[in-house]
Amino acid sequence: MKDFEEQLRPVYPELVRYAHCMAGSVSDGDDLLQESLVRAWRGYSRLKQTEQFKLWVLAIIRNTHRTRSMRNGIRKWVSLDNAAHLEQPEGLAFEEKEVVRLALSRVPRLQREALVLYEVLGMSVKEIADVQHAKLSAVKSRLSRGRAKLRSEYWKLSGKEEDHEFSVA
């Protein structure tokens, strides 16, 4: 357990960000992360390339998230078309990052994953292609379509009119 923790600690913040963004909320992200780390700890003795630790745990989180999504079905999907539930009490405002995190949860899984790895974790397209076992072109496509979807959902959540001046180059 000690070796596992030593490996985990430096990359932990990135894993937290990834889990939170993939799950769509902090609480669900924490649950996802905990479940994934239990699995990772159990399989740690079988990990041969310890320098790949971060990518390995990311893959576990990714698989755990996919399993949980299948298990939970569409339970976590809330209709953001009706933004009434996001009405904020007067004087209080959602943090920008919370709105974006929520908007991200409406982006299709593979696009969301590519976006989070690229925008939040700062990984290269090549690294994302390795994680997703996809071609570079597929990753670029997912990033582009993901940003478009994120933009659409962001405007819906923020209750503003979409500014069509912004566009993906």
Partner: protein, 228 residues
């Protein structure tokens, strides 16, 4: 991908990029991981222990079923009383069986002027049986020749059969027909059967004939292999 325009949500993405977990988040998560791992490990250990115990039990049962065993078992004793036939009248044969506890068989043989009385006891040691016979005979015992020997059964078959009494091999070389009769009667008695009569006769060719007559039989079936 760096050529894309800045969009309003990029500020949020940037915040997420630099978001740090709250204090003690790592410790809290690891505590949960340790707890879950320990619980699953404990469950796994219990399952392994249960499986091992079940496996060991199965091996023991299979072993008992297939591994042949053979061992000596002292089931009682035989007291032989030799005396002149003229002394026959001094023995109270009518009360012989009732007078001595665990006396399961008696056999009297006469040959010329000599008589031999063989008494088989169940679950009584040779010394105790001899003492019982001496007490029964009273003062006459001092005139008679008493010999007390333990009755040894050679129990064979598989261990489970030996334990349940389902398949028992009785063998004792060098025994006379009378001794074998007493042994057989004793053995059946120990199995819950009361023998009314048992005759063992060996002819000149060595062929042995055993005639059995039962007073009562146990409800369970019995299997015997009698080897001489």
């Amino acid at each position: 991908m760096n050529s894309q325009s800045h969009e309003p949500f990029d500020n949020g993405l940037n915040e997420l990029k630099h978001e740090e977990p709250p204090a003690f988040h790592f410790e809290r998560t690891m505590a949960h991981v340790r707890q879950q791992a320990k619980r699953r490990s404990s469950m796994s250990s219990k399952m392994i222990r249960s499986a091992l115990a079940a496996g060991a039990f199965a091996i023991v049962v299979i072993g008992m079923l297939v591994i042949p065993v053979s061992y000596d078992l002292e089931i009682g004793s035989m007291v032989t009383v030799e005396f002149p036939v003229t002394e026959l009248m001094t023995i109270d044969f009518a009360n012989l069986m009732d007078s001595m506890e665990n006396l399961v068989n008696q056999n009297l043989n006469t040959s010329g002027s000599e008589a031999t009385l063989a008494l088989a006891f169940r679950d009584v040691s040779a010394d105790d049986a001899e003492a019982l016979v001496r007490e029964f005979l009273g003062s006459s015992a001092n005139e008679f020749e008493l010999t007390a020997e333990p009755i040894i059964e050679r129990v064979g078959g598989n261990a489970l059969a030996a334990i349940t009494g389902g398949n028992i091999i009785v063998g004792e070389s060098g025994m006379s027909d009378e001794e074998v009769e007493a042994l057989i009667a004793s053995h059946f008695f120990s199995m819950g059967a009361v023998v009314r009569r048992v005759d063992v006769n060996t002819d000149n060719s060595g062929q042995t004939t055993i005639d059995l007559e039962f007073e009562s039989l146990p409800e369970d079936s019995m299997t015997f292999h009698i080897i001489r």
